[in-house]
Amino acid sequence: MRSNGKPPSLAASLDEKQVRLSRTRTWGGLETQASYGPNDANERDYKRDLGDPGEFPYTRGAYPQMYRSRMWTLRNIVGYGAPEDTRDGIEKTLAAGGTGVNVVVDTLTQQALDPDHPAFGAEAGLEGCSLPTARDIDRLLDGVDLTKVDVAWHWTIMAYQMVAAVAVKRGTPLDKLQGSHMPDHLQETMCGWGTDLLPAQLSQRATVDCVEYCVRNSPRWTLGLPQGYDLREAGLSPVGEIAIGMAVVKGVLRDLEKRGLDIDQVAPSIAWVSTADVDFFEEIAKFRALRRMWARTMRDGFGAQDPRSMRLRIACHTSGRSLVYGQPLNNLSRVAVQSLAALLGGVQSVEACTYDEPICVPTQEARELATRTQQILANEIGAARTADPLGGSYYVEALTDKVEAEAAKLMAEIEEIGLLAAIDAGRIAQLMDDYNLSFRREMDSGERIVIGANAFAPPEEPPPRRFTFDPAATQAHVRRFKELKAGRDGDLVKRKVRDVYATAKAGNNCSQAAIDAFVADATLGEVWGAFRMAMGRPYDGYRVIEAPFDFEAVSV
């Protein structure tokens, strides 16, 4: 605290310097006790509720040997500018010791808008890689064997179909295709896209179509579902992540059952995309509670027989919203602790945020430090040695129970209304608004302390360095895109895009038609626009551009 006038006495200063506990609730809002003991164990039964690592209900981990049998994948997120720019970033990341690559695409690609969009074209390549055609993915992964390298796509709409089109063009069989993406469209609806750009019904259909096709054709492809990470970033607590995430998955699985897919054909392909926020114990409890709830839901709710369906794999990206702009190097501490929580919670992959994430697209230096953080955790501190090292802790077990119970309660409330109806009625948005508003109020009142934001805020700092890159490659990329559109076989594209429209309109899965269209050089915007129109929505969610041709016309 600063005060004007004469300096306070040393005694007063010392008194003020004490760190006091400002809050006894978890970051997500669960009340905690001063200590926990055997009496807090309720009716817990080791075999039934915990089990050894690798044993049902997998509370203590998905695999018996955990990181002894397989180290988590140290991932880094890369993506900016043209495919050539991102390719350069990937090479640097792998050279620095990362073991997996996550490609993030720009906001246009995420929303299936082409870079020649008249209203938003200026955003091409700014926040991720611009990938509007299969040819661009081919450029990005030139020489990379799609059956061997584990590329994770931070991307929902048509991501798999576009990668599959590249595989088709290269003659790679789809059933050998490896990699992952995040087909959870409903999450996008909930996290800022809104019911206009992505109506809940349309999202559900797109997800179910994509998952069905992947599972039937590319069983080695991993599906990041639900995309719990964005739900958390938008304002759900750990309890909310489990509740809403489970509701999403259950809805998709029920629809797939109707299409004749058995749970054991689907569930093994799924990995839960999660986060680790700053509340160390709450996040560990969440990962454990999540695995337990998943296992029981799959076995008892869906009749799964295959252990691979019941043991949940979790991909964790540390929390971006927890990072602070002021004195950004503090974020290295936050990310280290969050990554540790993810490991003690038993996740299968970690993407550590870069410390400069609140400032810009990550700089190369920050990316390297994020990898180093994980390497220190893997090699020095012993976090990987023994599975579920906090299992049996009075506190962690009690918190695990509490997170699970609260999540089950919230999930029941939402499922009572129906997830899609709850989204349409603004219930999920309300949950997020309430969380975010109380978060802010608690910061204003000092109950919640965030170093560098509402306490110990640094005085004037030099402006943080930010990532910059030469936009020349992006500009060339957009020119190339326009040339491709002008020079491709227009009649073929029309025919293929009409097939997408007609297939979807007839209520059938249009994934194969989409792959064929991408092979024929249809653009992401065109294929998604055709699907949207088949679903009774305008071609462009922003209603700026019209369909380039009549989709209803009979193909020749």
Binding site: D196, P199, A421, D424, R537, P538, R543
Partner: protein
């Protein structure tokens, strides 16, 4: 707020010439309770009388804004110019408001043939704001063919809307079925057209049946000459059922044209309510002028409270009874 008379006159003329910014500014002045607006309002009133005012009400979450969004699209396709006045509640604590209706009509933001204005009710009861009637005069004078008036969904006090609209749509959600019985009398008094939105949802058909039955029974009671209340089914997200709803609205206005008696009854009631509101506003302003803190010597309210003056004589004097 006092505004130069010449300036307001200019704004009124510009608004009549369809200048959006002038119309918007006038509505702000009306909302802020600016005095000296009456000459301008008279000019605007004289220029109006052509707009079809369609009220849209119903409980929160019924999809009012989404339905309005679809109606705008429908009328625009028919080449009509459309204005929307969307009223949302003010926070009773702070007086502020989050006006979120416009957000759901974003597809029309760039269309010069559409004018959308959000309005906080600023503590007024009944689903509208005190300035709503005069704001409608402005929109009418601006020559909008259709004015869609969307109210706060406040349940029982939605009755306000019929005092300003020629056609009142009452939205029901698919889940409203069970709740209908308890409010049926009030709803029938308000609604010209019931709209069951999200008609494809499981419970919706039950709601539709319940409404049709209710309307049918009531029609027998009201007799043949009365407006036959209709029940429309819509899917506001996709636009299904909007054309049928618009046809129903059209029939309502045709009915008013063809039935001078019903039309006069409605119009007289509306004019009476508006005149009372204007008069009440004048009285309130006088009371503020004479009883304001700035004039302690002539604080009539304090005088009456202290029984130095008679309540009735003072009130009559306020409305000019002693002039």
């Amino acid at each position: 707020m006092r505004v130069a008379e010449a300036e307001v006159k200019q704004l009124a003329e510009s608004a009549i010439a369809q200048d959006a910014r002038a119309g918007a500014r006038l509505i702000t002045l009306i909302e802020s309770g600016a005095s000296d607006l009456y000459p301008a309002l008279s000019t605007l009133y004289a220029a109006g009388g052509h707009a079809r005012i369609v009220g849209v009400t119903g409980p929160p979450g019924a999809g009012k804004s989404t339905l309005v969004d679809q109606l705008i699209a429908y009328y625009r396709a028919a080449n009509l110019r459309v204005a929307v006045l969307a009223v949302d509640p003010s926070s009773p604590k702070s007086g502020g408001a989050v006006l979120g209706d416009r957000f759901r009509m974003s597809q029309h933001y760039s269309d010069a043939g559409v004018f959308i204005r959000s309005m906080a009710n600023r503590g007024a009861l009944g689903g509208l704001a005190r300035s709503t009637p005069d704001a409608l005069v402005v929109l009418d004078a601006m020559g909008w063919d259709i004015v869609l008036l969307e109210t706060v969904g406040v349940g029982q006090s939605e009755i306000d809307i019929m005092r300003h609209a020629g056609a009142v749509l009452v939205l029901q959600t698919s889940h409203s079925g069970d709740a209908l019985q308890s409010v049926k009398a009030g709803l029938l008094e308000i609604a010209d057209i019931f709209v069951v939105n999200r008609a494809s949802e499981p419970d919706a058909q039950r709601t539709v049946r319940a409404l049709r039955e209710m309307v049918h029974v009531d029609a027998e009671r009201r007799g043949e000459a009365a407006w036959p209340v209709s029940v429309c089914e819509t899917e506001a997200l996709t636009g299904e059922g909007i054309a049928a709803l618009a046809a129903s609205i059209e029939r309502r206005f045709t009915y008013l044209t063809d039935n001078p008696k019903a039309r006069a009854q409605l119009r007289h009631m509306q004019v009476r309510v508006h005149m009372e509101a204007i008069a009440a506003g004048i009285v309130a302003a006088r009371l503020t002028d004479r009883g304001g803190a700035g004039a302690p010597g002539s604080d009539v309210v304090a005088d009456v409270a202290a029984r130095r003056r008679d309540l009735y004589a003072t009130a009559r004097a306020l409305v000019g009874g002693d002039d």
